[in-house]
Symmetry: C2
Subunit: 204 residues, 2 copies
């Protein structure tokens, strides 16, 4: 029993080594460009050893991801419970999530941009004449809105674009996920999206 327990502990240590290495390599190169060889080398094991602990690359990645996120959720949730009203909880959720990100920067680079290679597409547009032109146009629009007192000056114009894009994407994603193609058109959601963007999720 004691023997088993030590062996098991050893096993866990090895697994943790590999986890750490995987975290680092995945964060550095993204899922596709990270190789098992990379990870094994970083952990100072031979390639095959990784397979003594994980069924395959997918399992390694997914379990790593799940583990991290689980850790974050449990911390965030426990901190949230100290607030009594929902607004307080919301604030804590945001602050504690950010704190956890900051303590696990390596990892959350994955979360923020899985498949960062593909982002080239969006980036490449930003370097294109028509892309730059559009960005300028939008930035000007935002500045105008700020002068008109419609948009707060707390945000930089480019940041407003980021936020707009993020919210838009989130609604479209949700729409795809629900297969709403029959029920409701995307365009019909314009109103609520605009409201969400301008006034946030708060009442009134």
């Amino acid at each position: 029993m004691a023997a088993f327990s030590r062996k098991e502990r050893d096993r866990q240590l090895r697994k943790a080594d590999i986890y750490r290495a995987a975290e680092h390599i995945f964060a550095l190169k993204g899922y596709h460009k990270a190789t098992i060889r990379d990870i094994a080398k970083e952990a100072q094991y031979a390639t095959g050893t990784v397979y003594l602990h994980f069924k395959d690359k997918d399992e390694l990645y997914l379990s790593l991801f799940a583990e991290k996120l689980k850790g974050m959720l449990s911390i965030v949730e426990s901190k949230m419970s100290s607030a009594k009203d929902a607004k307080g909880k919301l604030g804590i959720f945001i602050r504690e999530s950010l704190a956890y990100f900051e303590e696990n920067l390596d990892f959350f680079r994955i979360y923020v941009s899985e498949a960062e290679d593909m982002m080239t597409a969006e980036k490449s547009l930003r370097n294109t004449p028509s892309g730059k032109k559009f960005e300028r146009y939008m930035a000007d629009m935002v500045k105008q809105a700020q002068e008109e007192g419609v948009i707060s000056r707390d945000f930089e114009p480019m940041q407003v674009l980021d936020i707009m894009t993020a919210i838009l994407k989130s609604f479209v994603q949700r729409w795809f996920r629900e297969g709403n193609k029959e029920k409701k058109s995307l365009v019909s959601m314009s109103g609520i999206i605009l409201k969400c963007l301008l006034n946030g999720i708060s009442e009134k």
Copy 2:
């Protein structure tokens, strides 16, 4: 001259065939899982023919992406010019973007989730006990907030989570992009993020 022009036209037609096929296949399988063979087959050409029109897979993907987005931007921009104030422009931006998405569904499935295979990570959490538990916890928090009159009932609880995540991600992404690790901590942005989420980008 006429001969040249017809040849050129033919060439463009072929290229368009391949574009269409690529759009379809990329949208269906994502960048990595889509193969040149797939695309060629869909376009009813031989594999090698694709390379008569595009240097490599990357160029095909990037130019497709740039072309589509360019088209969208020019339409959206032209429609926006008909509004005089910034708020009107904003509304048009959102509506026309959505309309363009809807007319190019195949393609925008790419845009919305490049590398959709990787999303498995986030999804897999949603199927995990602790993930489900957390979702319930957050949903309850949102409901509570709605009862307290803090969050509008216009949004479903789950949708609020989506929006929160999207905004959070957008801020973190920006932070990474700017390499602000020295200047400012992530946590210090909690306030503005909460404000953005609750009250949107509008003044006051």
